[in-house]
């Protein structure tokens, strides 16, 4: 269905590809892009502030709690970074296929398979030394995620099966795979519930600082820089956007559109798998039911708020991580319920869409005024 959707949110910024415009023009276009964001975020905070007031709590206190919790001490900051890492990866896993006009809703399943692959290696080969085991754990996690996404990509290319459908269905299959692995194959009998045995010591990502931040965060920083540069400066990134903008035209110009779309899905799966491997090696030291948390949904929100721009994703992800980590503290301090944060995130997205419409109307009105002026 998404092959020729004309208003593709992931393909909004192809204009600055061919020739770099002069600096003043770039600054102005940046401002044009920034204004809707500012308006949307502000409007969302205002509406949520009204809701909080109506519930009988103090909105300034609530907002202060939700926004400062990540920066008040080391623990909060490390917590935020640990949340930021999988959020960024899952959001990239959504945004990259979005660039080619494909919707990958399977980040969750791909991540779960990543945790299963990583845990399988970490448990069965737990005796290996760290120099071998840790890279192996990460690599198998990436591979497992990529293979899981490749199934959907194959169904999409060979049988024209809607990728939204296949990725969602494979998410549900992955829950059962995880349940089987965690409660039958490598079940930890002492844990109670679907939890696997811990991985070997060599499979644990080393931590830095106090409280320790796992080094997976650094991997994610590296990955997001590479992704952003690739999207802007590489042939693959150009082809990706070209396919998303106009698949037919791209095909006529010799881009192998099917291969671009499939590759984007597989790369997405690899990134989600990496997120799974990092969760196993950095956070839980095992895999367990619910390991995927709500990262998929937040990843989609982040990808959409970033409008598919891979450069913007890590920054938006950081903002959302701050909100998510602050939600609990907000409830403790001000009494405003945590659900407020989900509403806030949804409203930011909705208002961003609305401000797009407004900007478009404004631009059109100005253009028609200019046209009338030229006639007169």
């Amino acid at each position: 269905m998404s092959n020729d959707v004309t208003e593709n949110p992931g393909a909004t910024e192809v204009t600055d590809v061919a020739v770099a415009p002069p600096l003043s023009q770039r600054a102005r276009s940046f401002a044009f892009a920034a204004i809707p964001y500012a308006v949307a975020v502000l409007a969302a905070f205002v509406v949520v502030g009204i809701i909080i007031t109506a519930l009988g709590h103090d909105p300034t206190e609530a907002f202060r709690a939700v926004l400062t919790n990540s920066f008040r001490n080391q623990t909060g900051f490390v917590q935020t970074l640990h949340k930021w890492a999988p959020l960024t990866l899952l959001s990239l896993a959504f945004a990259i296929p979005l660039g080619a006009g494909r919707f990958n809703i399977g980040g969750e399943g791909q991540m779960i398979l990543g945790t299963v692959g990583a845990a399988a290696v970490g448990i069965t080969m737990s005796e290996l030394p760290m120099v071998i085991l840790l890279p192996l754990v990460i690599l198998v996690g990436i591979l497992a995620g990529a293979v899981w996404a490749a199934i959907s990509a194959w169904l999409m290319e060979s049988f024209k099966i809607n990728e939204i459908l296949s990725t969602v269905l494979l998410n549900f299959v992955s829950f059962e795979v995880l349940d089987y692995v965690a409660s039958v194959v490598w079940s930890d009998p002492g844990a109670g519930g679907a939890v696997t045995l811990p991985v070997g010591e060599g499979a644990v990502l080393p931590g830095i600082g106090r409280p320790p931040m796992h080094t997976g965060v650094l991997i994610v920083v590296l990955v997001s820089v590479v992704a952003a540069v690739m999207a802007k400066r590489s042939v693959a990134g150009f082809e990706l956007r070209a396919v998303g903008l106009n698949e037919r035209a791209s095909r006529l110009h010799g881009i192998r559109t099917g291969r671009v779309a499939v590759t984007s899905m597989v790369v997405a799966g690899a990134l989600a798998g990496l997120a799974g491997a990092i969760e196993v090696a950095g956070v839980h030291q095992r895999t367990l039911e619910g390991v995927q948390s709500n990262f998929l949904l937040l990843g989609i929100i982040i990808g959409l708020i970033a409008r598919g721009s891979l450069t913007a994703v890590p920054f938006v992800a950081f903002g959302i991580a701050v909100l998510e980590v602050g939600a609990g503290s907000m409830q403790r301090v001000s009494g405003a319920p945590v659900e407020i944060v989900l509403i806030l995130e949804g409203l930011i997205l909705l208002f961003l869409l609305m401000s797009d419409v407004a900007t478009e109307r404004f631009r059109r009105a100005r253009a028609s005024r200019a046209a009338k002026g030229a006639l007169a």
Binding site: D4, L55, L165, L297, L342, I343, E345, L349
Partner: protein, 292 residues
């Protein structure tokens, strides 16, 4: 065996409402992906209204109205403003889900939630909504394939340009199909606390909304096959629960996988069956010279 059938029929009802709602919107070209949020909203509203204002019937009606509001926003934003259906749908999913938890938190707080009265049995140990759901499926089949209005709706989802040229009001058709479809989804959500749990919980929907989308594809976007598909999905669901409790030789995880794998297989092998409305998920621009 009778118990198995009874359980299956009960488990089928929420799937039916949500999948038929998805189908109805989809046949007019609106691909709603907010099911999960709409069901949560329906469950929360249905539960709270039944509890505070007495009566499941009122609860179901108010839940349907709440769903209709969300559906109207989706239809308006995608038809009049021509925003991306998928993006708006997801935004509304988050908003509806957040609103559901919030409403529950405001009214009940952290206390032990009181249980609402379950829907009373009508005949054969089945409640009235079972018959409403099956009747709705039959009605939708008749309406879509045996009436003029139904054919007009289908034509909007297949080729809106042609429909428009024949004087069908494409925008209005999409608006009300999207609105009614979302109302049905919320009713499907409201059924959950009234029959299964007696209370609302944030995890009450547990992926049924996404499954309903799969069901719409599984049934080829046709009400009669969605009815059959819902029975199959529900039977597998009940079977998996049974396997978990008493064991039937195969691990219950593999039984649970069956509906998902079956849907994919149907899509792969039954290409003629797996019809999808041609204009599903797209927005119609009257002024555009390019169709699609």
């Amino acid at each position: 065996m009778t118990e198995f059938l009874t359980l299956t029929i009960t488990a089928m009802v929420p799937f039916l409402f949500v999948a038929q709602g998805t189908m109805l919107s989809g046949r007019a070209g609106i691909f709603n992906v907010a099911q999960e949020g709409l069901m949560l909203l329906g469950a929360a509203v249905g539960y709270l209204v039944s509890l505070k204002m007495g009566g499941n019937v009122v609860g179901l009606i108010v839940a349907a109205l709440a769903g209709a509001v969300v559906g109207f926003i989706l239809s308006w934003a995608t038809t009049s403003l021509r925003l991306d259906q998928f993006v708006v749908g997801l935004a509304l999913f988050f908003l509806a889900g957040g609103t559901a938890s919030l409403l529950y938190r405001i009214v009940i707080g952290d206390d032990e939630p009181p249980r609402i009265k379950p829907l009373p049995d009508l005949v054969l140990g089945q409640d009235a909504m079972v018959f409403v759901a099956i009747g709705l499926s039959v009605f939708l089949w008749w309406w879509l394939y045996r009436t003029d209005a139904g054919m007009r709706l289908r034509s909007v989802g297949e080729n809106p340009k042609a429909a428009d040229s024949l004087g069908i009001n494409v925008a209005r058709t999409r608006m009300w199909a999207g609105t009614v479809g979302a109302a049905l989804m919320a009713v499907g959500g409201a059924y959950l606390p009234m029959v299964f749990s007696g209370v609302y919980a944030d995890g009450i929907v547990a992926g049924r909304g996404w499954l309903a989308i799969a069901l719409a594809f599984f049934g080829g976007w046709r009400p009669q096959f969605i009815l059959a598909g819902a029975a199959f999905f529900a039977a597998m669901d009940v079977l998996a629960q049974r396997a978990q409790v008493s064991g039937i030789g195969i691990p219950h995880q593999f039984v649970s996988m069956l509906p998902y794998l079956a849907t994919l297989l149907v899509m792969v092998f039954a290409l003629r069956w797996a019809l999808v409305p041609q204009f599903l998920g797209k927005n119609y621009d009257r002024e555009s010279r390019i169709v699609g």
